[in-house]
């Protein structure tokens, strides 16, 4: 038998025929197509019984009630609680992406001690015991030297029991250097305090207002309690209410408002006083309120009539005198008007007089504690612990001057982290020995990033409580990671701008994923290690018992409902509302050396010949600009007019771009007195000529690959401007120049 090529071919043909007659090719094709649907990176959600755990979101000051969809012990989705008074079923993009913070790669998973150089990212994983005994040792040494004031603390939250525990720790330890955040909410509360004598949260009754006049507040860009505000704005159609947005660029809010009034940036307060001028001149104000319940009206009137004529205001703001008059008439003739302040998301306090001008405008139309107006809420004041007893060391330490210079004005002594860094720059000798940072990321959120970084590096020992490897944590010597919000208990009082007394409860929906600890427990443990009067001030067994005890009778209801709300409280009437010495509403504030209106117009820093343009940061709901950056899903929604791959896009008016020969999408160099970066430009008709706008929330250098290295942090380009009246950061922009790259 001769086996030649023909036989071989025959074998092949037979094989092919046989294969075709067997199921192999058909089955294999089918299997391969199924195989191609099972790539290992395609997420397949777990199957199982669905249940919901409720909690409160603490990713922003919104205080939304959330229902976390669980399968087994695994949370798979965050939804808004339909039965929650704040957000009524909604969540924002960030809340919806909240689980990515829980499982994301930037979590700090165990206490870490720095081993390499600062900021190099070389860490030794250590036990809680080792970490706490190291920190307790350093703290004891400070007190043994008689300088407990060498301990400072920056925190991103100043309400609720966690903040109160931190503050208590500092007091019992013997240091006044506790720095809470300073936002537009704080500026507004300071304004309200000096004008009404009321301490406590300030709300806006947006749901019942028929005219919402927003002075640059990003109602759809994350202002206040974002979901609640979204709902109020979108339901205005049914209520026949109107939203008027005053803004220097067509923000999302301006685009969806009923009317957009374009003005020069930073002149919102001036416009408010211009409107006050018209209202007073035409006697459109609430006579009863002014005659019976107000003080200082004559002085206010005098200044407003003299310095804020429509023509003068038009010159500053760019709004036509006719528009100012029309706006004033409309506002005073509305049934339930309300004026809002706080630019964008309200992260920057702004000048105190700006907030005061808006409160004064509300007062002129009698819109205080009325339906649809500005509401002064009683402080829920549920944290009533006995004052900590201080030992002699602590007593002496607490006498030391504060490192941020707060308290140097009899009325306004807000603590601001910006000023803390400013003061250290001016006087390095006052550098604290230890800085603790809790729920804050000053290295990202404070203005003039480069300067803050330099100053921070001078501080010998930096302790971070961050749940994430953020910019500040990366510079730390020791990280004591806190649980993230889905893993911990916490009270969340007074959602920003909410119009009722309210305390939300955040509670663990999952067991801690990593070797982290509640910051409250860490503080209680530390206090115990420091013994004596400090330990005595922290007698609670753990944070949970502390919270439970503090909330007292409210606790059970809060566990059940997830919140406490005082529905019975109706707004206090004007007769008894004002706690000023005069018992009236003080138009110019109490204890002011002079009426505050001179400082209302804050100019952009920088020389206008070298920097002919003006740089303005803007906020967007798609970008988290606080201490915790974007979750990956959020960045996916950012359009290419904001970010192209890793490059930031700035918005610039077509005409201005033409002057500098800039074309759409082209690279340019943007410089301000504080820094210089490369950007791409987006030409737009939605922004005034002469401005360059950049989104906040990008340009992280820490976190993970999903966030780091994308875009530019606006704080690199802008410095703080100290409001002479309050010390708050009043900068809304800075001068800039742009050149073709």
């Amino acid at each position: 038998m001769k086996v030649d090529r023909r036989s071989f071919l025959a074998f092949g043909v037979g094989g092919a025929a046989g294969t075709a007659l067997s199921p192999l090719p058909w089955k294999l094709t089918d299997d391969l197509s199924i195989w191609s649907q099972r790539w290992p990176w395609v997420p397949i959600p777990k199957d199982g019984e669905i249940r919901y755990e409720t909690s409160t979101c603490t990713l922003c000051p919104g205080g939304c009630g959330i229902a976390v969809r669980m399968i087994g012990e695994r949370p798979v989705k965050i939804e808004g609680r339909k039965d929650h008074p704040v957000n009524q079923g909604g969540v924002c993009l960030r809340g919806a992406a909240g689980l990515q913070y829980l499982y994301g790669p930037s979590r700090v998973r165990t206490p870490l001690k720095r081993v390499g150089k600062r900021g190099q990212g070389q860490w030794a994983r250590i036990s809680w015991e080792a970490a706490l005994s190291e920190l307790a040792g350093k703290l004891k040494a400070l007190r043994n030297d008689g300088h407990p004031e060498g301990l400072a603390c920056i925190t991103g939250k100043d309400r609720g029991t966690v903040a109160a525990l931190l503050k208590r720790f500092m007091t019992a330890f013997g240091t006044p250097n506790y720095f809470g955040p300073a936002t537009s909410t704080h500026a507004l509360e300071t304004a309200v305090r000096t004008m009404t004598g009321q301490e406590g949260p300030v709300g806006f009754d947006l749901e019942h207002s028929d005219l919402v006049l927003s002075f640059g507040s990003g109602l759809l860009d994350g202002w206040g309690s974002p979901v609640r505000v979204f709902k109020a704005v979108s339901h205005r159609i049914e209520r026949h209410a109107e939203v008027i947005q005053v803004d220097s660029r067509m923000s999302n809010t301006a685009a969806r408002a009923d009317r957009w009034i374009a003005i020069n940036p930073g002149t919102e307060g001036v416009l408010a006083l211009g409107m006050a001028h018209v209202i007073i001149a035409k006697s459109l104000y609430n006579q009863q309120f002014i005659n019976q319940f107000a003080a200082g009206f004559d002085a206010f009137k005098k200044i407003v009539m003299a310095d804020f004529t429509p023509d003068a205001v038009a010159g500053i703001t760019g709004a036509a005198p006719g528009v100012i008059a029309e706006l004033a008439e409309k506002f005073s003739q509305a049934k339930r008007p309300v004026a809002l302040c706080g630019r964008g998301r309200g992260m920057v306090p702004g000048a105190l007089s700006e907030s005061m001008a808006v409160v004064a405008l509300n007062a002129l139309v009698g819109g205080i504690n009325q339906d649809g107006g500005l509401r002064l809420l009683p402080d829920p004041a549920y944290i009533s612990w006995p004052e900590p007893v201080m030992d002699p060391v602590a007593l002496k330490g607490n006498q030391a001057p504060r490192l941020d210079g707060a308290g140097d004005h009899p009325v306004f002594s807000p603590a601001t982290p910006n000023r803390f860094f400013d003061q250290l720059r001016e006087n390095a000798a006052r550098t604290p020995a230890i800085l603790m940072v809790a729920e804050a990321n000053p290295l990202y959120t404070l203005r003039d990033t480069q300067a803050v970084e330099k100053t921070l590096k001078q501080i010998p020992y930096l302790v971070s409580f961050s749940s994430f490897m953020d910019e500040t944590a990366r510079q730390a010597d020791l990280i004591l990671p806190n649980h993230m919000f889905l893993e911990r208990f916490e009270d969340v009082p007074s959602p920003a701008g909410f119009s009722r007394p309210f305390i939300g409860l955040s509670r663990p929906v999952v067991a801690a994923s990593y070797n982290t600890r509640h910051i409250g427990d860490t503080l209680i443990d530390l206090a115990r290690r420091l013994k004596g009067s400090i330990a005595a001030a922290f007698r609670w067994t753990n944070y949970e018992t502390c919270l439970k005890e503090t909330l007292g009778r409210k606790w059970d209801g809060m566990l059940k409902n997830g919140y406490w709300m005082n529905t019975a409280a109706s707004p206090v009437s004007w007769n008894t509302l004002f706690k000023t010495r005069s018992g009236r509403f003080e138009f110019n504030g109490e204890d002011m050396a002079a009426p505050p209106w001179k400082s209302i117009h804050v100019a952009a820093a920088g020389d206008s010949s070298a920097f002919p343009l003006v740089f303005v940061p803007y906020d967007s709901i798609r970008l988290a600009s606080g201490s915790v950056g974007n979750a990956p899903f959020m960045t996916k929604t950012v359009p290419d007019t904001v970010l192209i791959k890793e490059e930031i896009v700035v918005e610039i008016n077509r005409e201005t771009a033409g002057r500098y020969h800039l074309a759409e999408g082209k690279k340019a160099t943007l410089a301000t007195p504080r820094g210089q970066v490369t950007v791409r430009v987006h030409l737009s008709d939605r922004i005034m000529p002469g401005l360059v706008a950049m989104p906040t929330g990008l340009g992280h250098t820490a976190y993970d690959d999903f966030l780091a290295g994308k875009g530019v942090n606006v704080n690199q380009l802008i410095g703080p401007a100290k409001d002479p009246l309050s010390g708050y950061d009043a900068a809304w922009g800075i001068r800039a120049k742009i050149t073709k790259a």
Partner: protein
């Protein structure tokens, strides 16, 4: 090309007898090889391939359905039920098992092992699911057992009458159970539960004249099961 293999003598003289003889022999050889090729590939396709394609796995605990069905009051639904929200419970979790098996009940070795390894350690049993469909399929038990009033056997066969867990054959390429394609590699089915591929779903949907559009989206065709 054919030249080189023609039986031509070097001189160019052809020998007729020799030619026909060689031709018939060559033909036979070719046919033989064809048959060998055919047979070998058939063996590969029908026997070797299925053996290689599936690997055998055993359930962590061999489960006796017959025994359990006798003990429980409510038949299959005692353990496999529709939850309040309309989703199907599937294979019970350890918690359901625990309501009876907190401690050992009977005398079987399997049960003793189940209690010591899973109940005592509070570990879920990693059951292998014979009927697991790809994730892209939205299958609703409620639609089938409540609306269409189908019984379990139609799709799952007589598993409820088994006294031990069958071997779980997993497709090495797709990762799914052999029960989906069916025991017969040729895809031949005798019973409704023999195969559960997409065509089987749609054949039944067409035959029973069920709604041919998605309830949620009103889209037709694929969208009934693929959302």
């Amino acid at each position: 090309m054919s030249h080189s293999s023609d039986p031509v003598s070097p001189e160019g003289n052809e020998s007729p007898a020799a030619t026909s003889d060689t031709e018939s022999k060559d033909g036979a050889v070719i046919i033989l090889f064809f048959i060998i090729g055919l047979a070998a590939s058939m063996v590969v396709g029908w026997v070797v391939f299925p053996t290689l394609l599936y690997s055998k796995k055993y359930q962590p605990v061999s489960f006796n359905h017959t025994l359990h069905v006798k003990e429980v009051e409510n038949g299959c639904q005692s353990c496999h039920f529709l939850r309040k929200d309309g989703t199907f419970s599937g294979i019970p979790t350890l918690n359901s098992c625990k309501s009876c098996h907190e401690s050992v009940q009977g005398e079987t070795e399997e049960e003793a092992r189940f209690v010591s390894q899973y109940v005592d350690r509070n570990r879920e049993v990693p059951w292998l699911i014979y009927s697991r469909q790809p994730d892209c399929v939205f299958f609703s038990h409620a639609a089938h057992i409540v609306t269409a009033k189908m019984d379990c056997v139609t799709c799952h066969g007589h598993i409820g009458e088994s006294d031990r867990s069958p071997v779980y054959e997993v497709n090495r390429i797709t990762g799914y159970s052999r029960n989906i394609w069916g025991k017969s590699i040729a895809g031949i089915k005798h019973n409704s539960w023999d195969r559960m591929k997409m065509d089987d779903c749609s054949a039944c949907h067409v035959r029973e004249n069920v709604r041919q559009t998605s309830v949620q989206t009103e889209k037709g065709g694929c969208f009934v099961c693929h959302k």
